[in-house]
Amino acid sequence: MTDDLRASTTATFGSLSQRSLAIAVGLIGLCAGAIVPTYLASDFVLRLGSEGLLLGLLALSVAFLMNQAGLVALGAASIYGGAGYLFAIGMSDWGLSPTAALCVAFLILLVYAAMLGALIVRTNPLAFMMLTLAAGEMISHAVLLEGLRDYTGGADGLVVRVNGSVLGIDALRFADPVQFWCIAWIVTVLIGLAFWAIGRSRLGVVLRAIRGNEERMRFSGFNTFLPRLIGYVLVNVAAAIAGFLHVLNAGFVSPESLGLFVSTNTLVAALIGGISGSLGPILGGLIFSFAQDEFGARGLTQLLTGVAIVLFIVVFPRGVVGGLSSLSKRLGWRREGA
């Protein structure tokens, strides 16, 4: 009876050999996913795919918070775009090396996320949603401030030239669609796995319990503020990584990367894929990216974003992955409760 909570989840993995088999399959999948598409797909498709993966990373951050903590963040863009701006400013204005600029930018983002989080995770989920939207708008107004024009380039944005290497990787690799796909894929899969693991860790259990009944958690002796703050900062780490990858790949940052539309697109990607688990949001990002290519030229992206939000919440609240898994369950492909 007093055995660990996690025992039941690890038990489903079965014996150790089964686990090592799973790891082997996973590693093969990781490598195959990084390499195979580069032979099959054109540069254009790889670019779309990479964009989809980055959006998927963002969606993962939003979905994790929604699923584990019941909090909807509408400000993913400010970390995503902010990462690009801080990285660029670090190199050009503060004279830092690319790696140092990246680290400094990352630290600033962490501090920002922690401070904002400390202010807003105490409020109820609706107020949280409103506040993240407001904070996101604040950042997108801030880069357009006349006084910061020398740093941010105002409405034009900044061109980001990276000389040398970043974290030991030659900067040129990020600009090449084939190599960037490999990098984006590996990073995305690893972060996806990390979030999957966090969701199953004690932090995940505590977050879900707080989501279920915050007051009872306090009456059970838990600090309900700190886990939510940690969760909030963690998802912003993923958003920041997506932002860094984006700026390294694109070579510029613009105010659009901070805009509300980035945040709503992220939300839609998460809803399309389904917010429970790591697979859904990443898949959602890919689907969104290719769909945007299809409809974007006709200026319909935003309209369809709105339609998708309504449609997926009202009709398919579990998204593509959730829908497929319940379908497969119904068809008896999986054991019940697996």
Binding site: I120, L131, L133, H141, G306
Partner: protein
């Protein structure tokens, strides 16, 4: 100088009061924040623009609220009621999606450029009050804003439906036990709130510009106000709107470089001091 500042902030606050008290009313009753409120306001402004072209400003000011009240009824029957059993977050997201759709449709019809609406003759020009020359239209805005405030207060204070709204806002479970028909009340409140958004939209025409970004700007301002006011507190929202208007106007005068950020700074300061907002709402979990 001070008088001018106060007058200008009252003019801005008038619009904000009409919009944010509508948001607070729906929240109080249904625990739903309507993220599409900005788009409804934008629809009001564009409809006002069109009707004013054909039949003049006064006709627009009369017709638009009626049309938007109908929209509110549709919103209540087609969105809020069918989704009653879903979580408040899901409903809020649906309103966000509906708002995006509405905004995009408006842009699709009217195109991307800004429109301007002329104030009617009687409201254009300036008057001199206490040796200060002041635009008549802004005075009109202030009168409309304070007037709607007064009407709202009278309604909440002296009518039975107003009493019910206060009761439900304070404690939904108690009100349900009292046998209050929340559905009928919600229909009234929703259509009232969209009608007020329509009035605000028409009034915004000659004052601010009518442009594709107005929905986002306004909804963000209103959300800030509603949070500052203490979500669901109508009195709090009104005070917060006044505060917001003043800070915004004072910011553009004294801190022109940072004016765009001043409302957010206000928000952060209020959250730091009083996480629940200044009114007695239900913002804390």
């Amino acid at each position: 100088m001070i008088a001018l500042l106060i007058a200008n902030s009252l003019a801005l606050a008038s619009l904000l009061i009409m919009l944010s008290s509508g948001l607070a009313l729906i929240y109080g009753l249904r625990d739903v924040i309507n993220f599409g409120h900005g788009a409804i306001y934008m629809l009001g402004a564009y409809l006002g623009y069109t009707i004013a072209l054909v039949g003049g400003f006064w006709l627009a000011l009369l017709l638009v609220p009626l049309l938007l009240a109908l929209l509110g009824i549709a919103f209540e029957y087609l969105a809020l009621r069918p989704l009653q059993r879903r979580s408040h977050i899901e409903v809020a997201l649906v309103t966000l999606g509906l708002g995006i759709i509405l905004g995009q449709v408006i842009i699709y019809i009217y195109g991307g450029e800004a429109r301007s609406v002329d104030a009617p003759k009687i409201l254009s020009g300036s008057v001199t009050v206490l040796h200060l020359s002041y635009p008549v239209y802004r005075l009109f805005l202030i009168v409309m804003g304070l007037g709607s405030c007064a009407l709202l207060a009278l309604w909440l204070r002296y009518t039975s439906s107003g009493l019910y709204v206060r009761a439900v806002s304070q404690d939904p479970s108690v009100a349900r036990m009292m046998g209050i028909n929340a559905d009928r009340l919600s229909l009234l409140v929703t259509s009232l709130s969209t009608a007020f958004a329509g009035i605000a939209g028409v009034l915004a025409g000659p004052y601010l510009s009518v442009d594709p970004g107005m929905d986002v700007v306004m909804i963000v301002n209103c959300l800030i106000i509603v949070v500052i006011g203490g979500t669901g507190s109508i009195g709090g929202a009104i005070i917060a709107a006044l505060l917001f208007g003043f800070v915004q106007v004072a910011g553009s005068v004294f801190l022109p470089n940072l004016a765009a950020l001043v409302p957010y700074i206000l928000l952060m300061v209020v959250l730091l001091i009083a996480p629940g907002g200044i009114g007695r709402g239900r913002v804390m979990s």
